[in-house]
Every structure is written in C-alpha cells, then in structure tokens.
C-alpha cells in the first residue's frame, strides 16, 4: 500500500470506489492517475486503457525540471562536476600495493613474471622473476656432441636461431682452429642478417600490439612471413634450423635463391614505409612511447645492456663493427644511434637496422663467392656423398663423425655475436673430447630483463607493457 503522501488522511484510511468519485483537490493530475492504477490492482476496479504508461520507476524516476534544483540538473547532464574526493597525503604515502604481472600475461612475451609494487598508478619497485621456461639446456648441451650442439642452442633465442647457431659454431671453430671457406661465411652473414630483419619485424608487430596498434601486428607478421618462407626453403624449417654448424653450413643455398632474396629486398621496404606512415607521426604512438622506459648509457654499462637498447641510448656499439665475425667487416653498413634511450628511439632505431641489414643482404647476394659451403677439413666434414659409394673407409668416416662426433682440442673460448637483441655470447669449455665440457650462453635478453627495474621504476603502470615490449625479451634466451 503506497498511497501518495500528500493525499488527505481520510481517504487513505478508506480506500474505496468513492475516492474515484471525489478526487482530492491538492493532488495533481498525475497523482490521480497513480491512484487509479493502485485501485485497479488492489480493489479490482476496471483498468484504464493506458495504464502501462504510469508504472513507477521508483528512486530513478526523473522528476520535472521544476522539482529538481538547477544545480542537480547541471550535474546530471555533466555540465558541472562536483569533486567530493579528499586526498589525504599522510595515508596515500604508505598505500603501496604489490601486484603480479604474469607469468601468464599475454604481453609478457613468454613466461616472465613481474612483481610490481605500485603506489596509485605509479610503479615504485619492480622485481623480474624468471625461470618458468628453464629446461636445463646448458646441461643438455654437455650431453650432445659439438656437431649436435647447434640443434640445442638454436632453441634458446627462438626468434633469432641463426645467431645462436653462429655463436656456437664460431666458438667451436676457434677451438678447432679450422678455416671456414668464404662462401660459407657469406651464407652465414646472409642468413643472420635476414634473421635480424625477421626478428625486428616481429618486434614491430608485438610492440604495436602491446601499445594498441593492432593492425601493426598483422603487418609485422606479414612481412616476417616472407623471410621465414626463405628460411624454410634453405634450411627445411621455419625456425630452429640447425643450419649453421661447426665447419660451415648444412647445405648450399637452393637454386634460385637470388629471386627469394630479391623478393625480401623489395617487399620488406614497402612494409617499412607502411609502418612509418602508420606509426612514426601517430600522436597516440608518440604519447605511448616517447619518454617511456628510459635507460642511460651508464646504466646500460652497469647492467650489461647491449644491442638496440644501448644504441638507442646514444652509444654506437655494435659487435659487427667492434669485434667483426664471419667476414662481416667487408660489407658496408651504418650503425644507427638513438638519442633519448626511450621506447620511441628504439622503434626508430630498429626500423633503420632493418634497412641496414637488408643492405648487407643485398651486398652479400651480389658478391656471393663461389666455392664450398663447408670446410674441407676432413676431421670436421664428412666425405662427399660420391666417395661413400666407392670406399668403405669413407662410409666409416661419415658414420663416425655423426655418431661419435669429432674431437675438439682442450681449451676455453668466449665468442660473441651481435644478435637482434644484443651481445649473444657462447662460453665453451672443451676437455678434449667430442662433447663440450661446459656450454654457457650469455643471452642478451637475460641482461636486458635484469635491467627492467631501471627502466620501469617511477613511471606509470600503463607504460609497463610498452617498456617491456621495447626491450624485446625472448624468454627462451633468458631461462635457457
């Protein structure tokens, strides 16, 4: 029973058909209607034709403009904003909160867990927690021969597998003291530089996706696919190729490889122009990346941060120039350098690195030397296929190389190459047997992830993902 409050008391106590005949003078027309509906349901009198129009909306019912104050109306319409929150500095200083990002967060690029201590929207402390992808690959490497080693290490940094194989092979060759023929060296440079292109393109895709430029993701994968098609044609696999091996490469380039490289060299620059149109002057992109995740050169030195992060901070340090490997010093290329060390500079720098790598690939293609694709050192390389048909000794030799492996002289060596993520080093200890005594891989992502707290502290939590993506960590490389 919910009679209108302003109805005369006598009528409330005696709700009857009389009320319909004698409406109260003070009630408005609407109140009469309301009463009519009430009586229809309670007393069973006949329903009006338009009864449905007058169902009550309770507390949410809009009142007439006259009934509400002008101020309340303005607030309802959003013209006036009343701020009744009070910020108490004494309380908020201590109000930090620890949240876990990962290990299953889609933007952690694998299984990285970040423990963030946040105060409001600001990150105060970061602790990267790794090891979720640890599979003991360094221990596995001790049980594999030197020839099988690249199969193992290629799976560490799975976005730049050729670099892992190259570093391992170069280290083994340093211990063996074998000379690699020029064609094998050129093929190695061709494959690694195209791998750098593929890796950077994938970085563009994921960085775009993490910042919200979703079409960038499709574009990056699209161009990378051209490179992977070529890798598949040459090595048989899209990733984890085991193509670069101690002594040379696994097989010569297939017929018509120039056309495939030419296709990469013509298609990828078109894609790069698309990216620049899409991102370089995009205000959202600039807002999300400029001044985000800054690291200074001194911090890079202290934490061993290398690669595009170091160069974006303004240090022209590229192992291809400083400690050249596999004959890369004979090709002409520039080392782009950033200025601010932020995410935007890393983007511009990687874009330029892709162009430089394409330039190297073109030079390699045009000057590809003739010759053997692996060393003629019979200790490392099995006899040619034709010899196996003629000679039992050649067959045994072939068999022994692939089962027992070849003996590598005792010694220790550290060999580093410039991977797309930075200095990729392999520390190899041989005890004079066919298997390495110790394989240690210095992954660039390991050092770069360690420096995440430097880049993230005191910036907004919304920039976490942008910063993390700009580091381009590969967790297979971090955890090994």
């Amino acid at each position: 029973m919910s009679n209108p409050p302003d109805v005369v008391t006598g009528e409330i106590e005696a709700p009857s058909t009389e009320a319909q005949e004698a409406p109260p003078t003070a009630a408005s027309e609407r109140e009469q209607e309301r009463r009519r509906i009430h009586e229809m349901w309670v007393t069973g009198t006949e329903a009006p034709e338009d009864a449905g129009r007058y169902t009550s909306e309770g507390a949410q019912e809009m009142l007439d403009d006259d009934d509400e104050g002008a101020g309340a109306l303005a607030e309802q319409r959003g013209v006036v904003v009343s701020d009744d929150y009070e910020i108490d500095d004494r309380i908020s200083d201590d109000e930090t909160q620890i949240i876990n990002m990962g290990p299953q967060h889609p933007s952690t690029h694998g299984v990285l867990r970040l423990q963030l201590e946040i105060e409001g929207e600001t990150i105060r402390r970061v602790k990267p927690i790794i090891g979720y992808l640890h599979t003991g690959m360094e221990k596995t490497g001790e049980a594999l021969t030197f020839l099988q080693g690249p199969t193992n290490v290629t799976r560490m940094d799975y976005l730049s597998p050729f670099f892992n194989e190259l570093a391992f092979s170069l280290a083994t060759e340093k211990l063996l003291g074998v000379e690699i023929p020029p064609r094998a060296q050129a093929i190695r440079i061709l494959m690694t530089e195209l791998n750098r292109v593929a890796s950077h393109l994938l970085w563009m895709a994921t960085q775009g996706m993490d910042v919200g430029a979703l079409s960038m993701m499709i574009y990056g994968w699209r161009e990378r696919e051209i490179c992977l098609d070529f890798f598949e044609k040459v090595t048989g696999l899209r990733m984890n190729h085991n193509y670069i091996r101690p002594g040379g490469v696994a097989a010569d380039l297939p017929d018509g490889w120039e056309e495939d490289v030419e296709r990469i060299l013509s298609e990828v620059p078109k894609g790069l122009e698309d990216y620049e149109t899409l991102l370089s002057e995009n205000p959202i992109w600039i807002d999300r990346t400029q001044g985000v995740g800054v690291i200074t050169p001194d911090e890079c030195y202290a934490y061993g941060v290398t690669g595009p992060l170091l160069r974006a901070a303004g240090v022209a340090w590229d192992l291809r120039k400083e400690f050249p490997y596999s004959g890369i010093e004979q090709y002409d290329f520039d080392v782009p350098v950033g200025k601010h060390g932020d995410t935007y500079d890393r983007y511009v720098l990687r874009l330029e690195e892709v162009r430089q790598s394409l330039g190297i690939a073109r030079q390699v293609m045009e000057s590809m030397p003739e010759g053997d694709y692996r060393t003629d050192d019979r200790k490392v390389t099995p006899p040619p296929r034709a010899r196996i048909d003629q000679s039992m000794e050649a067959l045994i030799h072939h068999f022994k190389i692939f089962t027992e492996g070849f003996v590598v002289p005792e010694g220790e060596v550290y060999q580093a190459v410039e991977s797309p993520r930075g200095e990729l080093g392999v520390y190899l200890v041989s005890s004079g047997g066919p298997k390495p005594w110790r394989v240690h891989v210095r992954g660039p992502s390991f050092a770069n992830v360690q420096a995440l707290p430097v880049m993230m502290t005191d910036q907004l939590i919304a920039d976490t993902v942008a910063t993390l993506a700009s580091v381009d960590p590969v967790l297979g490389d971090v955890d090994r």
């Binding site: 090891g131 220790e412 200095e423 080093g425 520390y427 050092a447």
Partner: protein
C-alpha cells in the same frame, strides 16, 4: 692451447695482436698491481685472460673497471670436477667500449669451500648472473644482496649443473614412469 694458470707469456704472444707482455700493457699492468698473484694469457678467441686468486678477485675486477672496462657482460661458472685441483671456476667477461677490447677474469674456487666475494657493488649487472651460478652450481657469493635461486623453484634440492649431478636424477613425473627396472 689451454688457459691453465701456468700459461707462459711467450706462448700467448702469437695468438692475438694485442697479446703484449703483461707489464707493457697499461690495462693488464693495472690489474697486476691490484692483484699481484694474477697470471695472464690469451684465449683462442684473442681475449686477454687474467687468472687471479680468490682473495684478490674483487680487487682485480675493480682495477679492471677503473682501467676502462666499464661494461660487465657475463659471469659464468664451470665445474672442473676431477680435472683440476680447484673444482670450480668463475669467469667474468668485461668489455671496454673505449679501448675496444675484452678481458676475462678467471677465479678458481675450491670444491670444499665454494664461496667467493660478490662483485655486485662494482657491477650491478652481476646480480642475476651470480644468482644463476649459485642456483645451478651452489657457489656462494659472499655479500650478495639477494642470493636466492633464480631459475629453479625455491624448494629445489641440489645444484643440477654440477658434474656429479647426473642427467635424469629427477624422476620423470609421469604415471608409472619409475616402475621400469
């Protein structure tokens, strides 16, 4: 060629162009001053190596940093079980961007007392690497700010990269996998 502590200087000369005798090289002389026990050599990759005693290890690394090796790149532990008198070895790889050269500082650690002072006050980046070496080899880095397991779970027992920790020591966690005799 090996990097044993007894590598004579004349053997190292032909391996790399900058393999000058120790005291003619300013950088190595600085390390030699801080760590008088240091012996120098050159690895097959042409990288200068300095083998130092455990007591002089931190001083040698600090001297190398002052001599221009501003960047820390790697710290690697090796288990030389039954190969050498001192079972463990820690190798620190340093880079000088200004001198364009590398230096590897080797320190031997006895198996009975696997501990060595930390170099995190000198290079912050050694933090994760020392934790990794502790995790996988059980080498204790004295003075490390947070010496906990890095790659393995906290409740893991043992240090699997040691040579006496066999592959397959942890049973495969599949149903009935251990019943095979």
């Amino acid at each position: 060629m090996t990097d044993e502590t007894t590598v004579p200087d004349d053997e190292a000369v032909d391996a790399a162009p900058d393999a000058a005798p120790v005291h003619e090289d300013e950088v190595l002389a600085a390390v030699a001053t801080a760590a008088p026990s240091a012996s120098f050599g050159v690895s097959p990759a042409g990288i200068d190596t300095a083998h130092v005693d455990r007591e002089e290890y931190v001083a040698a690394v600090a001297a190398a940093k002052d001599a221009g090796f501003q960047m820390f790149t790697d710290l690697c532990a090796v288990d030389h079980l039954r190969r050498r008198r001192d079972r463990f070895e820690v190798i620190v790889q340093l880079v000088s961007l200004t001198l364009r050269r590398r230096l590897a500082v080797h320190v031997a650690i006895p198996g009975g007392d696997p501990s060595v002072p930390t170099i995190t006050p000198i290079y912050q980046g050694a933090n994760f690497y020392e934790r990794e070496a502790y995790d996988l080899f059980g080498i204790v880095f004295d003075g490390h700010p947070d010496l906990t397991r890095l790659l393995l779970p906290d409740d893991w027992e043992g240090h699997p990269m040691r040579k006496d920790h066999p592959v397959g020591a942890v049973p495969v966690q599949f149903k009935g996998a251990n019943k095979v005799t």
